[in-house]
């Protein structure tokens, strides 16, 4: 049994009253520790696919199991816990919470998990230090540069040591040099922590550097 198994997943959205089927009968297996890239044309449904896997969006139909456990049958609280404990998200924009400092942003998942407050902040600070952001810990997102923000966002995604990292064009808003730094970090995380990662990207060099490559087209996922 694969680490993540998707079976017959359907998802459509509605535009001007018309139904657009973005995922049609998608089935996919991802093994533990894999680093997968997903490419596709704009609007092909890459983000939707990632949201469905991350349980942020409910598919119309289909099955997904995670380590053999059926995910789509969970209720809201269980889904939230699943996202909190097993999934780390990184988005194209950093999506940090603007009212909170970098440190508080990184500690937030642990707080949501209701871990001890002091411990959560210690862990968050340690992680920021490892990422070379200790001096920016008490700054709010508005005062951070693009690359710094994205690294804080990555730290927030990783602070609870998720089993699955879902990255949606993490370097889309960054210049090539800064983007390369994020790529480096992603590969390190995959290698050192053994985190399984699915990375949606437009960046050809990043996609080529991944061990497994997928392409989303016409509602189906093909190996690329």
């Amino acid at each position: 049994m694969a680490f993540v198994e998707l079976r017959n997943v359907f998802k459509s959205y509605f535009l001007h009253g018309k139904r657009i089927d973005v995922l049609r009968d998608v089935s996919l297996d991802v093994e533990e520790g894999e680093l997968v890239s997903l490419v596709g044309a704009s609007g092909a449904g890459k983000s939707t696919f990632l949201h469905v896997v991350g349980t942020l969006d409910a598919p119309a139909a289909g099955h997904m199991t995670f380590r053999g456990r059926s995910v789509f049958d969970m209720n809201d609280a269980e889904l939230a816990e699943f996202r909190n404990r097993t999934i780390g998200f990184v988005f194209q924009s950093h999506f940090l919470l603007p009212e909170f400092t970098a440190l508080e942003n990184v500690a937030m998942p642990a707080l949501v998990r209701r871990e001890d407050r002091a411990q959560a902040f210690r862990d968050a600070r340690a992680l920021l230090e490892r990422m070379g952001l200790a001096h920016r810990a008490d700054h709010r997102p508005g005062e951070l540069s693009g690359g710094e923000s994205q690294r804080v966002a990555l730290a927030r995604a990783l602070v609870l040591r998720p089993a699955l990292l879902l990255a949606d064009e993490p370097t889309g808003n960054l210049d090539p040099a800064t983007g390369e730094g994020i790529h480096q970090l992603l590969r390190e995380v995959n290698r050192e922590l053994g985190v399984t990662a699915i990375v949606v990207t437009h960046n050809e060099s990043l996609a080529r550097s991944m061990p497994r490559r997928l392409r989303l087209e016409a509602g189906h996922v093909f190996p690329a």
Partner: protein, 801 residues
């Protein structure tokens, strides 16, 4: 997607037939009602059926109201009854046929590619309607109402609940206390039902709640309202429900009481539903508030000391002046700053741009302004409620003090007129638990005449030894021990001495003895006093109210005559008046014009002699708990074994006055609560704006693993923060204003109000209630936006910018 959409077919045949049948049924019903002459009550039923939806339910309701119609109809003839049934039956049948003519069928469509695939769990969990939830909510509200009614009856009627209670005496509470306990218990039931229902259904289930309240909650308050309108109902159920109707009657308008209690129970049910949904709506019970509060506080930041102090200042200084002042100062500042920037701009555009940026950074965001307004609004509402309620309590308390000061808490009369001998009765009464003191009295109407003036008065013969234990006649009386002088007329001060205050008693008495001629030279009364005219007995004493003394132009030591037109008995030419001379022993002041201008007091024995009675006309009581006077009176009556005695308590004697006061206060509170409703609107707007502003953050939080319930809690906490901050501000400002009014005082025209300045009495219960209401209102107000927030789809907020 599934082919869930359906089409509706209308078959014309059944529609026509059913419509005709129903029409004939309606005509028959109308005819039957006309024959019965029961259109009046039936229209009540029709009005009630406006709550129902669908003709079927209306017809059922109509049938359910038949017994009522019959109870009210004058005729009980059988034939209109049959007509009624036939009409109702046809009416139902017709609608049934109509319903059969309407068919839903699935829309035909090409099969979707997902045909047969399993439905996602979250979509599966969406259910439209649950009868179990409806029954939980409806049953809950009904059970809560029954709890209030039954517990109220049980507690105040003294039902023995356990053996232990039996041993320690009957388990019974004063009516107001019993009502409070019953109300709290009922609210508990409603809350639990709501919480359980919502936790089980994992949704708010508004349709179920509405239907449950309409069909199971409304009948009881409607029944109670009709109880007062329909005599036959009142005869059947009135005695059994007397405890409930009594408490409601304390308001003067019992219906208002029932509906207020009903509203309270519905609100508690809704509160329970919300709490149940918040705690368990996500599928797991989670009452903790860790990160939720952290996020909520960062979003709003209402508990900054400077912010709160500024708002408190605005509330304390009369709201408008500080705002005007603030606006003027800000305008001046801005003018100065912009002029400076303009000057800078001529020299160094970069510096000017920086200054402009700083100026703009100082401006508040719309959400901050809204937050300030909402907190201020809640604060104003609470403050107004506290001040007005305290002043009204002040007036009420003042009035009650004055009435109870001069009147007893309860009076025992006899249907036989006189209580004779009264000593035994007095002893029996004093033994009743709850009775603090008792004193006999004789009361009658007389004329009081001085040298120049005459005035009608109510004369009361009292026992100086015990009268002060029952009434506070001695509270404001000149001279201080004037009441004791009644028993010792030789000690009564002479004219001019009273002002001296501490005149030595014996000396004054000596002078009194030295002037026996005043007895003979009575210019008003020709008749010598009944007994021993030659003896140098001093004139008996009399106490006058200050207004009466003023209008008679007498002071302490002066003589007055008391004339009773009837006390002399019946002579050949009709009733013979009797008169006697008294010396003014003291002047009392109660502050109530009615008492100060009408009441005079003499010694009980003098009154017995004057009115020719042997005993007393009644016994006045003082009870330990003023609010429990009614029950203690009943106990006294039981101790006296009923007839010929009867007991009236002060509430009964002044029922209309206090009912009017209470109603006035209640209406005032309701009107002032409108401010809170406006504030609630502000809170809805503020939290909605927050939700719109934070869509992205909500999505991110959900991605981080916050369940819908967590989002709900965050935004409820934000609304609650506004309520708590506003409530605290209002409490502070309200108490400060009350303190100001009490200490500094606002002068009143004593001619009109009989009180020198605005009275204030802070009742902690109602003050706390004002704050609690504000907090609850803000909680209710934030439910809707918080629900909206919890339903934000994470995907929407996470779209790349």
């Amino acid at each position: 997607m599934r082919s869930a959409e359906r089409q509706t077919d209308y078959r014309l045949g059944p529609l026509w037939v059913g419509g005709t049948l129903a029409g004939v049924g309606a005509l028959l019903l109308g005819w039957a009602l006309t024959v019965l002459g029961a259109w009046g009550p039936a229209s009540v039923g029709l009005a009630l059926s406006a709550f129902g939806f669908g003709p079927l339910l209306q017809a059922l309701q109509g049938l359910g109201l038949l017994p009522l119609v019959r109870a009210m109809g004058e005729t009980t003839a059988a034939s209109p009854g049959a007509l009624l049934w036939a009409g109702a039956g046809l009416w139902l049948l017709g609608w049934g046929v109509v319903a059969a003519g309407i068919r839903h069928r699935p829309r035909e469509e090409a099969p979707s590619p997902a045909q047969g695939a399993p439905l996602h769990g979250r979509l599966q969990a969406e259910r439209d309607f649950s009868w179990a939830t409806l029954l939980t909510y409806g049953g809950g509200i009904l059970a809560a109402e029954l709890t209030v009614v039954l517990l109220q009856t049980a507690l105040s009627a003294g039902v023995r609940l356990t053996e232990a209670a039996e041993r320690s005496g009957p388990f019974s509470l004063p009516p107001a206390g019993a009502f409070l306990v019953a109300l709290l218990a009922g609210m508990g039931v409603a809350f639990l039902a709501g919480a359980l229902g919502a936790a089980r259904a994992r949704r708010l289930a508004a349709p179920e709640a509405t239907l449950g309240i309409l069909y199971l909650g409304l009948p009881l308050p409607i029944f109670f309202t009709l109880l007062h309108a329909i005599p036959s109902l009142s005869i059947t159920f009135g005695p059994r429900l007397r405890e409930v109707t009594y408490v409601a009657g304390l308001l003067g308008r019992p219906e208002l009481g029932y509906w207020l209690v009903f509203t309270g129970l519905v609100l508690t049910l809704v509160l329970g539903i919300t709490v149940g949904f918040v705690l368990a709506g996500s599928g797991r019970v989670d009452a903790r508030m860790g990160y939720e509060l952290f996020v909520a506080r960062r979003h709003l930041e209402v508990f900054r000391p400077r912010f709160l102090l500024k708002l408190l200042g605005v509330l304390l200084l009369g709201i408008l002046p500080p705002i005007v002042l603030f606006a003027v100062v800000r305008a001046a500042q801005a003018a100065v700053e912009r002029t400076r920037i303009r000057m800078l701009g001529l020299q160094d555009p970069l510096k000017a741009a920086e200054a402009l940026h700083r100026l703009k950074a100082k401006e508040q965001s719309p959400t901050q302004t809204m937050t300030t307004l909402s907190v201020g609004g809640v604060g104003v509402g609470v403050m107004a409620l506290i001040i007005v309620m305290s002043v009204m309590s002040g007036f009420e308390g003042d009035l009650q003090d004055k009435i109870l000061g001069i009147n007893a808490h309860a009076v025992v009369y006899s249907y036989e007129g006189e209580i004779e001998p009264y000593e035994g009765v007095l002893g029996d009464i004093r033994k009743v638990p709850g009775v603090a003191a008792a004193t006999p009295f004789i009361m009658n109407e007389v004329m009081v005449a001085s040298e120049g003036n005459v005035s009608g008065a109510i004369i009361k013969g009292v026992d100086p030894a015990t009268v002060t234990t029952v009434t506070s006649l001695d509270r404001d009386i000149v001279p201080r021990d004037a009441i004791q002088h009644l028993a010792h007329p030789e000690e009564i001060l002479h004219r001019g001495d009273a002002l001296g205050g501490a005149v030595a008693g014996p000396e004054a008495a000596g002078e009194g003895h030295g002037l026996p001629e005043s007895l003979q030279d009575d210019p008003i009364i020709e008749l010598p006093r009944g007994e021993a005219p030659g003896a140098a007995a001093p004139l008996p004493g009399i106490l006058l109210g200050s207004e009466l003394a003023h209008s008679l132009k007498v002071v302490v030591g002066d003589r007055v005559s008391v004339v009773s037109p009837l006390a002399g008995g019946l002579g050949p030419q009709g009733p013979i008046p009797r008169s006697a001379a008294f010396r003014v022993a003291g002047v009392f002041h109660t502050g109530m014009y009615e008492y100060d201008s009408k009441f005079v007091y003499i010694l009980l024995q003098e009154a017995q002699r004057f009115f020719n009675v042997k005993g007393a006309l009644g016994v006045e009581l003082k009870v330990d708990d003023v609010d429990d006077a009614r029950r203690i009176s009943r106990r006294v009556l039981t101790a006296l074994e009923g007839y010929p005695y009867r007991v009236k308590d002060w509430g009964e004697m002044n029922q209309n006055l206090f009912a009017a006061l209470r109603l006035e206060k209640l209406v005032m509170a309701i009107i002032l609560s409108i401010i809170s409703i406006v504030a609630a609107g502000l809170i809805v707007a503020t939290v909605t704006m927050l939700v719109l502003e934070k869509r992205k953050e909500i999505s991110v939080l959900k991605a981080l693993g916050v369940p819908d319930g967590g989002i709900l809690k965050i935004f409820l906490a934000e609304g609650l923060q506004i309520g708590v901050a506003g409530g605290a501000l209002g409490l502070g400002a309200g108490l400060a204003w009350c303190w100001f009014i009490a200490k500094v005082g606002i002068k009143l025209d004593p001619e009109v109000y009989y009180i020198p300045s605005l009275p204030v009495r802070i009742e902690w219960g109602q003050t706390a209630l004002a704050v609690v209401i504000a907090v609850l209102v803000s909680f209710f107000a934030s439910i809707y936006p918080a629900l909206k927030a919890s339903r934000v789809e994470p995907v929407e907020g996470l779209k790349a910018e």
